[in-house]
Subunit: 219 residues, 2 copies
């Protein structure tokens, strides 16, 4: 009984995700679903990425949080258009929330749309939103055992950003071990080692985004 | 419809939590439900706490993880009895899982039982397990905005451990701001600033545990 309820929820989510995907594709906007634990650096990555790309591309953001508009205000200061979703308790975004948010955002005007999911290394991985790629951030302060304990998110993601590498001298974390364990779960994972604080390594990430945007047909 | 399903789940959870609470109380064991984001330091805190207390008290652990027995093996090396729960995808422990785990653990032999919840700053806060206290850990690497964005866990917890204070010189995090924001949500929160890496501040936390154990009648 409980299982069938969950299955229905996931099926309904998938149906609306396909509708979102069609709209994104028609608008030729690259859509990235950004996931991580709380405080791994999603908003800091977006601030840095928008600053780097905004002279070349039109970038928008959908911010997901249980409550507060704190992150949307941070993103708003970059000048990028931003819509805040407050889930009111729910621990992940679903495709229906994205469909609602799209009423307030003109995606025809965008080249790149980031969806910042709720900070949670578990549940967001189960819900497709219609994105082109899922990207996850792991902070080295979280330790190198996370692929063992939260494998689904590593399995579902196309990109892993290992963030806060400036803290490596002060943490008991081996980034090579993260990579080895992550690639065992998902050999196709593209991995970047970055520091959103110092900017180290972010050029390879923004280059990757540029290449993906070129795959979209020009508007 | 969806709401009534969720309500039924929470009501069933609460009923079994009360049964657990009765058993814990009869066994005069202090039970702490330990919650945090992934990688905030729950297992490290347990290792340190067990080492500090195990000459005076009998301490046991129930380990909750989506999969793997990595944390249980770490705890096992301290010599403390440990039972691993693998939730198989579920993002939190519930009271029924605890009831099952109690078949494998003789709580009559314990003074203190830690339940290490799944790493998740959202869902575990909604599920009582029958514990005496909920304690949460926040790593300073997660930033000082977390009370704004995950208020329920701060509201439900009795103790907040602000961990990894050895990283404060390298993070943009103001621990006084965490405390101010947390106390606005929950003025009764007992807060400790600690480093499980260096051991700094842990004496006040173990003193607090000693005091709580003395409140339980002697066996």
């Amino acid at each position: 009984m409980k299982i069938s309820v969950v299955k229905n929820i996931l099926e309904a989510n998938q149906r609306i995700a396909e509708e979102n995907r069609r709209r994104f594709s028609e608008s030729r906007v690259l859509v990235m679903n950004l996931m991580s634990s709380p405080g791994a650096g999603k908003t800091s990555l977006l601030e840095r990425t928008i600053q780097e790309l905004q002279d070349e591309f039109r970038v928008g953001v959908i911010e997901g949080d249980i409550q507060s508009t704190y992150d949307a205000e941070r993103i708003g200061r970059t000048g990028a258009p931003v819509v805040q979703i407050n889930t009111g308790g729910a621990c992940h975004l679903d495709s229906n929330m994205i469909q609602e948010a799209l009423r307030s955002l003109d995606i025809g005007d965008l080249d790149l749309l980031f969806i910042e999911n709720v900070g949670n290394l578990v549940c967001p991985a189960e819900f497709n939103l219609g994105e082109d790629f899922k990207a996850m951030i792991l902070s080295v302060a979280e330790g190198d055992d996370k692929p063992l304990k939260y494998p689904l998110m590593f399995h579902e993601s196309s990109v892993l950003l290992i963030n806060k590498i400036d803290l490596l001298p002060f943490c008991d974390c081996n980034p090579s071990l993260i990579e080895e364990r992550a690639w065992k779960i998902n050999p196709h994972l593209t991995i970047f080692r970055v520091s959103c604080r110092t900017g180290e390594g972010l050029d390879r990430w923004t280059d990757w985004l540029r290449i993906q945007m070129r795959q979209q047909s020009p508007k």
